[in-house]
């Protein structure tokens, strides 16, 4: 029990730290959001219209009071579920803006992660089983190479190769002519738009799972119980699937939970390049325009998702593996 209480305690404490950092980082930096907004709307080759800047300051409402009272306000608002109003999308709230982008990214990256995980586990397990075979070598070498390519770079090549060169896929946006909703046309539209971003991510994500699974599996194959199973004359396939792969899966599943939490980080560039209406694109935009409330909301969302995934992984571990419970307590 102590294990679980500690883990949850840590969760709350870390959450507080993240929230505080979230509050501090934007405030420690220079730059006047009102000026930036006006400049951004007008373009850099335009004189800053002071009337507009004044108007924008009125609109956004300058933060008032001491840093401490601002912090207190921020916490109170947060507890009430109020993330503030986006500068860029004024008067829409941060929650509304994030809500629009949320599912696009979750579906895109979620699908990619699940697929990558499945492919990675399969390839990794098989490579370990046929260790040092030609299959093993090509899987490790190729996945290492493509896994280290820059997603942004892949995206550019795909856009011009499959998008404009061959004209197979739309290259920008999340959908086009259809009406959002659950209808065939829209689902089809959205899927064809998601194809290139998904392919880009699919090229780089499986490598971690492949190598991780391969390593753990090889290690398990050297364990005594496998030798025992072999000595008993169990069929190879059964040893591989029932024993080695199954046991090797546990650390990977825990890792998978963490990867799901960190969905946002890797998608900023890819979503931006494809003009995909998800969280990554939004984050890139918020950084560019200095939309502090939106940026804070996005970072909070990401951090909380990662934290929760961590917590769940920890708790699961504690249930599944009593040794972990003892070690950490």
């Amino acid at each position: 029990m102590r294990y679980f209480v500690r883990k949850i305690g840590f969760f709350v404490l870390t959450l507080w730290a993240v929230v505080t950092l979230n509050f501090l980082i934007p405030r420690l930096q220079p730059g006047d959001p009102a000026e930036l907004m006006v400049q951004n709307l007008a373009g850099k080759n335009a004189q800053l219209n002071r009337a507009q800047v004044e108007a924008m300051r009125d609109l956004l409402g300058a933060p008032s009071g001491s840093l401490l009272s601002q912090y207190w306000n921020y916490l109170v608002q947060l507890i009430h579920g109020n993330l503030g109003v986006s500068y860029t999308y004024f008067p829409y709230t941060v929650a509304e803006v994030i809500g629009k982008a949320f599912w696009w990214t979750v579906i895109l990256v979620g699908t990619v992660q699940v697929l990558s995980f499945a492919i990675g586990i399969l390839l990794g397990a098989f490579a370990a089983w046929r260790r040092n075979s030609r299959f093993d070598t090509s899987v490790t070498v190729i996945s290492t190479f493509v896994g280290t390519l820059q997603p942004f770079w892949i995206a550019l090549l795909l856009i011009y190769g499959l998008g404009y060169g061959l004209g197979w896929f739309p290259t920008a946006g999340g959908y086009q002519a259809s009406t959002p909703g659950f209808n065939g046309a829209f689902v089809y539209d959205a899927m064809s738009h998601a194809f290139l971003p998904a392919l880009t991510l699919m090229i780089v994500t499986p490598i971690g799972w492949i190598l991780g699974m391969r390593n753990t599996m090889i290690m398990n194959l050297g364990e005594d119980y496998i030798r025992l199973a072999r000595a008993k004359g169990l069929p190879d396939r059964m040893i591989a699937l029932r024993y080695a792969a199954r046991n090797a899966l546990l650390p990977s599943v825990a890792g998978f939970a963490l990867a799901l939490g960190g969905i946002l980080g890797g998608t900023i560039l890819v979503e931006t390049v494809f003009d995909y209406p998800g969280l990554g694109r939004l984050m890139g935009e918020a950084v560019g325009i200095k939309d502090y409330p939106l940026l804070q909301g996005l970072m909070l969302l990401t951090a909380v998702a990662t934290l929760l995934a961590n917590l769940i992984a920890d708790l699961l571990y504690g249930i599944l593996d009593p040794r972990a419970r003892r070690a950490a307590a």
Binding site: T144, F145, G265, L298, A327
Partner: protein, 301 residues
């Protein structure tokens, strides 16, 4: 990637490393074919970086040529918007990537070692709790967004800032696995002996335990350096790289900003991405060799 997977491994597997006196660690690493290839390729990169002025036909900032020409005998990869020879930029770019990898890797490893080891040695105490809390916090803050935020907000953007920011945001994973490793080493006889002879905590950690972990430190360093090179490229591609030097990421950013592909200047985009991927792959290959240390089962017997 492979180093993060390490963090997930149960602690016991890691413990055996570096204790077998016959198997010197570099021999183990060299025994892997992949690692050999990796070492050779990285060595070539280092040579190119050192000899950049000899190899590159022009200076990396010499903008005296016709802008935006395609590949030719004079300019193997063409020229950029500012009339700079792209091939020379790529050659000199190796310096930035390797430097960021080296410094970023060192700094991140140092932070990870310090925090991870102290925390692991003091396991169960308040010190450990505080440090673990720090580590966990750093681990859950979204890294790329944080880097972008930090870099975008700071006044000047030199290589030291990039290195610092990358190290500052990437030490946590390694610190966590260091902590796990030291917990298992802590109860070995030689540590107990040192304790009884009255040595201080720091002395025990750094002069008794650390020498027994060379291979693990090396693995952490290669992992961190690989991560740093990738992170630098990611930042530069976003236009947030070091502003006083040109890295491969910067070249990609410039190529994209200048619409290289819509003007048919493909090699300008293709080559920097490729040399970057080859370097990172080679470093990952070296890590295959180092993985053999912590996981003897992996050895190609």
């Amino acid at each position: 990637m492979s180093s993060t997977q390490n963090a997930v491994l149960p602690e016991e597997q890691v413990a055996a490393a570096g204790t077998d006196p016959v198997d010197r660690w570099y021999r183990v690493v060299w025994s892997s074919k992949k690692a050999r290839v990796g070492v050779v390729v990285v060595a070539i990169y280092v040579l190119v970086a050192l000899l950049a002025p000899v190899i590159a036909p022009y200076g990396p900032t010499d903008g005296s040529f016709t802008p935006l020409t395609g590949p030719s005998a004079q300019h193997l990869l063409g020229t950029n918007v500012a009339g700079v020879d792209v091939f020379s930029q790529v050659i000199y770019g190796s310096r930035v990537s390797l430097l960021v990898g080296l410094l970023g890797g060192l700094l991140a490893t140092a932070i990870a070692l310090l925090i991870g080891m102290v925390s692991g040695y003091a396991e169960g105490t308040v010190v450990d709790d505080v440090l673990t809390f720090l580590t966990n916090t750093a681990l859950v803050i979204p890294v790329l967004p944080l880097i972008i935020t930090l870099v975008a907000y700071s006044d000047t953007r030199g290589i030291p800032l990039i290195v610092g920011v990358i190290a500052f945001t990437s030490w946590a994973g390694a610190a966590r696995s260091k902590r796990a490793q030291i917990i298992t080493l802590r109860n070995r006889d030689f540590v107990t002996a040192a304790k009884f002879s009255g040595d201080g905590t720091f002395r025990i950690i750094f002069s008794e335990i650390l020498p027994n972990m060379t291979s693990l430190v090396a693995a952490a360093f290669v992992g961190a350096a690989t991560g740093a090179i990738g992170a630098e490229a990611g930042l530069a591609v976003l236009g947030l790289g070091s502003s006083d030097s040109v890295s491969w990421g910067t070249i990609l950013y410039q190529a994209d900003a200048a619409g290289a592909i819509s003007q048919g200047l493909f090699v300008w985009v293709f080559v920097p991405g490729l040399v970057l991927a080859i370097l990172i792959t080679s470093m990952a290959f070296i890590n295959f060799g180092i993985d053999l240390l912590s996981n003897p089962h992996l050895r190609e017997d």
